[in-house]
């Protein structure tokens, strides 16, 4: 241990002001421990607008727990874009790789690139898996998953993990997608349902059968929903309905949700001038633009994680001015407050310690 540290320090004294990793990275980017990277190994189309990206992570990668997400950084036309994506492959990393499955958000900055343009061999940046949307260590007897669209991805990892272990408890999966063909992992889900009698799959095709899933309908499909440990992942409307329903039943603690985008309640206010003190950048920002995005567009290195107000990786010190919480519309902030940039917009002129 001590020898290892001595060697590392000796090596660093040779490469200062850089680190030995910076030179190792010249040979193979995946060798860098300091900056985790991955190489795109394969691409698999899933539906007309979704694809799976198989990634081989570099040295030091920590296994994900089924249901967790990873932050992926991708160079799109010279600019690094970071987004969280749920891991869709089972835990255990068969073949030394893991996968994410991405659905195109029209006009999005990263998702269309990942689905349509990225090629095998591309190097992406990674951060270790994180997130609480996982199975408890002690597996519950009865489970319920309510998903829609790309919200199936973390659940797919969970189901694949269970299938690999050959233990499928009593599972109900209620999944919505516009049509049968638009169901991401449709074939595999149907196959799993055939193979494991414990797994009941309810597919809802919202374009053929009017509208999105209602909670009344859920109760018909799965009468014992309230007794099950439940997980929900999908668009904001579905999640809001589910949370309200579970809360009304007094069992909010039995439902876990994963949000792919933040809840926005606020229309935003006047906006103002934002100064990023350490980077020395200053820009005008709208009152409804998350400071995270404002900073990124200005070239500031903004820390971030889930981008939805959950993980707090994005907190920054407010040096002056006030901000508006985009989730509630509430204006707040004093000097030295730590604000979450991903869900805060400026309310007037502010200064941030970034």
């Amino acid at each position: 241990m001590a020898v290892g540290r001595f060697l590392r320090e000796a090596a660093t004294s040779l490469t200062t002001p850089l680190l030995p990793d910076d030179y190792l990275g010249l040979i193979d980017p995946l060798w860098s421990h300091r900056r985790l990277r991955g190489r795109v190994e394969a691409l698999r189309p899933e539906t007309a607008d979704a694809a799976t990206i198989v990634i081989r992570p570099g040295a030091g990668w920590k296994e994900h727990r089924a249901g967790q997400y990873v932050r992926v950084g991708v160079d799109v036309d010279g600019v690094w874009q970071w987004r969280p994506y749920s891991v869709s492959s089972p835990p255990g990393r068969p073949g030394g790789t893991f996968s994410i499955t991405v659905k195109i958000l029209v006009n999005g900055r990263l998702s269309p690139y990942l689905v349509e343009r990225i090629r095998p061999g591309a190097i992406v940046r990674l951060e270790h898996p994180q997130g609480q949307f996982v199975l408890p260590r002690a597996l519950p007897e009865r489970l319920l998953f309510v998903t829609a669209g790309s919200g199936i991805t973390p659940v797919m990892s969970i189901l694949r993990g269970l299938a690999l272990g050959d233990e499928m408890p009593d599972v109900v999966l209620v999944h919505s997608a516009p049509t049968r063909d638009a169901v991401i992992f449709g074939e595999e889900l149907r196959e799993l349902a055939r193979r494991f009698p414990g797994l009941r799959l309810h597919e809802r095709h919202t374009r053929t059968r009017a509208g999105r899933l209602t909670m009344t309908e859920l109760a018909t499909v799965c009468p014992d929903w309230a007794e099950r440990a439940a997980w929900a992942c999908g668009p904001p409307g579905l999640l809001a309905d589910a949370e309200a329903r579970w809360r009304r039943a007094g069992i909010a603690d039995r439902l876990r949700v994963e949000r792919f985008r933040p809840v926005t309640a606020s229309e935003g206010g006047a906006g103002g001038r934002v100064r990023f003190a350490r980077s020395g950048r200053e820009v005008d920002a709208d009152g409804d633009a998350p400071l995270l995005v404002v900073g990124e567009s200005a070239g500031v290195l903004m820390p971030s994680g889930c981008r939805t107000g959950v993980c707090r990786s994005c907190v920054a010190r407010l040096l002056s001015g006030r901000v508006r919480d985009l989730r509630t519309g509430r204006e707040h902030g004093d000097t030295d407050d730590h604000i979450q940039t991903c869900v805060s917009a400026t309310a007037g002129d502010i200064e941030i310690d970034l």
């Binding site: 000796a10 004294s13 040779l14 490469t15 200062t16 002001p17 850089l18 910076d22 030179y23 010249l26 900056r35 950084g73 160079d75 036309d77 010279g78 600019v79 690094w80 940046r125 350490r278 980077s279 020395g280 950048r281 990124e296 070239g299 500031v300 290195l301």
Partner: protein
């Protein structure tokens, strides 16, 4: 002076707007090609450095020593100029690459990036060629403008300048802690000493690497490696000093007073940057080795645009200058260097009250144009 006025206040603002448009155009077109450029330069630089040091280990053979030293010197020049200087200016911040960003970059130089960013990016680029404000190194150590009062100490300034060239990185490191300002009571000593100790720590690591760690690693080639590293650092220092002095001190580069820049408009700011800077002509490789500071004019107009774009911007800036009758100071390296040295030699002696016509061939002509803007500048205040 009224007779020399060719630029009206309206002209100056039009000039400024044209430059703003140029800047917006470039910003909008940044993309994959630019990102690939800087990554490639970094890869080449790191490979050259690693290769140079490896080759130098075989230094008991003289050709290996020469090749290794040349490779290392080139790598160090690239590292300081095309990479370090420009990354620290935030030219590549738009890529949001967590490893190539002005807030995280550290360079292979005696001075720490943090202190240098303050004295260079902020003080020098804001107060370019403003007497008494611009702390770019030439201004405190040397007498580079007749407006600076003469002192007998300046008699030896050609010698100081030579010495400064050799130890340039250390000159900057010490200089950035602003000792002389603490001495004059303009800055408190505690802060100055903290900065000085930061500089010493940074400098110490640099010394340890080049003059202890690598020579020791080389075993029997201890001395040749030590000497090779010293040579590479010195070549880099002399080169950087030469390029930087050519950027602001050849004949024709203007100085300004604090009163002149009071209430300065955007157009006037651009004009001052123009008139205070000078370019050096050369090949594409030459420009890269100067960190594109051979486009000092373009760099001063747009300090945060990526350096690989200056060559593309230069003809447009030049055409604008022609349109508005603003001088565009450019020349070959020998011409600009000799011009700098002429000035340093001349100003070692007292006087002149104003630039005489015999200093620099077309000086009188340039000066006429250069002074033209002062009328509108004053009328704005």
């Amino acid at each position: 002076m009224a007779g020399t006025t060719q630029l009206t206040a309206v002209d100056v603002e039009e000039f400024g707007r044209a430059l703003d448009r140029l800047r917006e155009e470039i910003l909008a077109s940044l993309g994959e090609g630019d990102a690939r450029y800087i990554r490639r330069v970094i890869t080449v630089q790191r490979s050259l450095e690693a290769g140079g040091r490896a080759v130098m280990f075989a230094s008991l053979l003289p050709p290996a020593w020469l090749a290794g030293t040349a490779m290392l010197a080139t790598a160090k020049i690239l590292e300081n100029m095309e990479i370090g200087h420009n990354v620290l200016h935030g030219q590549w911040d738009w890529m949001r690459d967590p490893e190539i960003h002005s807030t995280v970059w550290e360079w292979d130089s005696g001075s720490s990036a943090e202190q240098w960013k303050h004295s260079h990016n902020y003080v020098h680029h804001t107060y370019t060629n403003v007497l008494g404000k611009d702390r770019d190194i030439g201004y405190s150590a040397l007498r580079v403008h007749p407006e600076q009062p003469w002192h007998p100490l300046y008699l030896a300034q050609p010698l100081y300048n030579l010495m400064l060239a050799v130890v340039f990185e250390w000159g900057i490191a010490i200089y950035d802690s602003e000792l002389e300002r603490a001495w004059r009571g303009e800055k408190n000593w505690a802060e100055t000493l903290t900065q000085l100790s930061t500089a010493l720590r940074k400098g110490g690591r640099q010394v340890l690497k080049d003059y202890v760690a690598f020579p020791l690693l080389a075993g029997p080639a201890f001395l040749p490696v030590l000497f090779g590293n010293l040579t590479a650092n010195t070549i880099r220092n002399v080169w950087a000093h030469m390029i930087i002095f050519c950027g602001h001190f050849p004949e024709g580069a203007e100085v300004f007073t604090e009163e002149q820049i009071e209430g300065e408009t955007r157009g006037e700011w651009y004009l001052r940057q123009m008139l205070g800077s000078a370019n050096i002509e050369g090949s594409a490789l030459f420009h890269i080795l100067t960190g594109n500071l051979s486009f000092q004019i373009e760099h001063h107009l747009f300090p945060d645009l990526p350096s690989n774009r200056y060559a593309q911007i230069a003809p447009e800036v030049r055409a604008l200058c022609a349109r508005f009758g603003i001088p565009y100071n450019t020349g070959s390296l020998p011409r600009q260097t000799s011009s700098v040295w002429k000035r340093i030699l001349r100003l070692a002696l007292p006087g002149p009250a104003r630039w005489p016509v015999d200093l620099g061939d077309d000086r009188a002509h340039r000066s006429e144009h250069a002074h033209a803007h002062r009328i509108p500048a004053e009328s704005v205040v």
